[in-house]
């Protein structure tokens, strides 16, 4: 084995860059969060404010509502993607003509810039411009306008997220399904289990670690949605799609209320980490159950 000095030398640039771009902003936001700081206010300097920013934050209904809104959006989108992704992954485990082609094309949305996804869906849903409002009106007499109806705006964003990310869920589930051992399934069929029983008592438990990992990754991504919503609805109509990322951006930057903004950023980070950690614990214990199940 070579001297660890060389190893550390090779690792050092990576660690330094991640410390500057990852760790430093974190420490800085913790620091600024305890100050009143607005460079364009009467007092330009940072004034120590203790936990006052947080005191203001827990009573800030706009902020809390925007958190709730983001959570509802993420849960709806991710749940739909899981169901759809699972069904589509099931079909991809079978052989059929054109499978490789379909699978490749299906992955296309994953590579598209989120901001371009937003632009694309805007062109699709703009009244007078996109075919969606036109044909919904022609075929079903439905008045579809995401600039006016907030329910439709939220629903469209969920649909867009499904369009964008179901391929990801599908491909991950497919990889998981392929890696499952065959024997338990054959045995279950011999024993006369029906499809639902096989799904409920075999596929889901065996796939659990992968399902949870997917939920984990997708939730983290869905909760930080900004680009697509920014492009498609710009937070509107009203505040119906003002997700937390856009909220921070819109409230903090024009008002240059840096102390309060830092507190807000940190609280979002805190909630993300807690959620992240809970899911992580769930994944680890699911993995442990799997290992114990195999032993037992």
């Amino acid at each position: 084995m070579q001297s660890p000095r060389t190893g550390w030398g090779l690792l050092a640039p990576t660690l330094i860059i991640l410390a500057i771009t990852g760790l430093l902003p974190f420490l800085y936001v913790v620091y600024v969060g305890f100050f009143d700081w607005n460079p364009f206010a009467a007092t330009k300097d940072m004034v120590f404010a203790g936990v006052n920013n947080y005191r203001r934050l827990v009573f800030d209904n706009d902020f809390l509502q925007s958190l709730g809104r983001t959570l509802v959006f993420a849960v709806c989108a991710v749940a739909s993607e899981l169901v759809l992704g699972f069904l589509l992954a099931q079909t991809l485990t079978k052989e059929f003509p054109g499978k490789t082609f379909f699978r490749t094309v299906f992955a296309l949305p994953l590579m598209v810039a989120p901001i371009a996804v937003g632009a694309t869906w805007r062109l699709l849903t703009m009244p007078g411009l996109g075919p969606l409002p036109y044909y919904l009106d022609k075929l079903f007499g439905l008045n579809y306008n995401i600039g006016i109806f907030s329910d439709q705006a939220t629903l469209t964003l969920v649909l867009m997220d499904i369009w964008h990310w179901t391929p990801f869920v599908t491909l991950v589930f497919l990889a998981g399904l392929i890696s499952l051992p065959k024997e338990p399934f054959e045995q279950a069929q011999v024993d006369g289990a029906n499809r639902w029983q096989i799904f409920r008592y075999l596929t889901v438990p065996m796939l659990m670690p992968i399902i949870l990992t997917t939920v984990f990754i997708r939730m983290m991504d869905a909760l930080r949605i900004v680009d697509e919503a920014w492009m498609l609805t710009n937070g509107g109509p009203g505040t119906s799609t003002l997700f937390i990322g856009i909220h921070i951006w819109r409230i903090v930057f024009p008002k240059t209320d840096y102390g309060y903004g830092s507190a807000m950023s940190l609280l979002v980070l805190y909630l993300t980490i807690v959620l992240c950690w809970l899911l992580f614990v769930a994944i680890t214990s699911a993995r442990q159950h799997e290992v114990e199940g195999m032993r037992g």
Binding site: V51, Y54, R55, V58, F59, L267, Y270, I273, V274, W277, V281, T284, S285
Partner: protein, 67 residues
């Protein structure tokens, strides 16, 4: 030395999961922040915030020792 080694090793305390020292510190901090935030929202009108601080520090010690 021996004692210190024990505390960093994963173990099963009253918490529902197996934790090592880092996990317990992390859980304590998370709970500390949560108590303070909720206190400010619901209880600060009645009781000052430093009670929350003492409460969560006591809780942190309990978690670190027996969690």
């Amino acid at each position: 030395m021996n004692d210190k080694n024990n505390s960093t090793k994963p173990r099963q305390g009253f918490l529902p999961i197996t934790t090592n020292l880092f996990d317990r510190v992390f859980i304590s901090v998370v709970i500390l922040v949560a108590i303070h935030l909720l206190w400010m929202r619901f209880l600060e009108a009645l009781l000052p915030l430093w009670i929350a601080t003492i409460l969560s520090l006591v809780l942190a010690v309990i978690i670190l020792k027996w969690g």
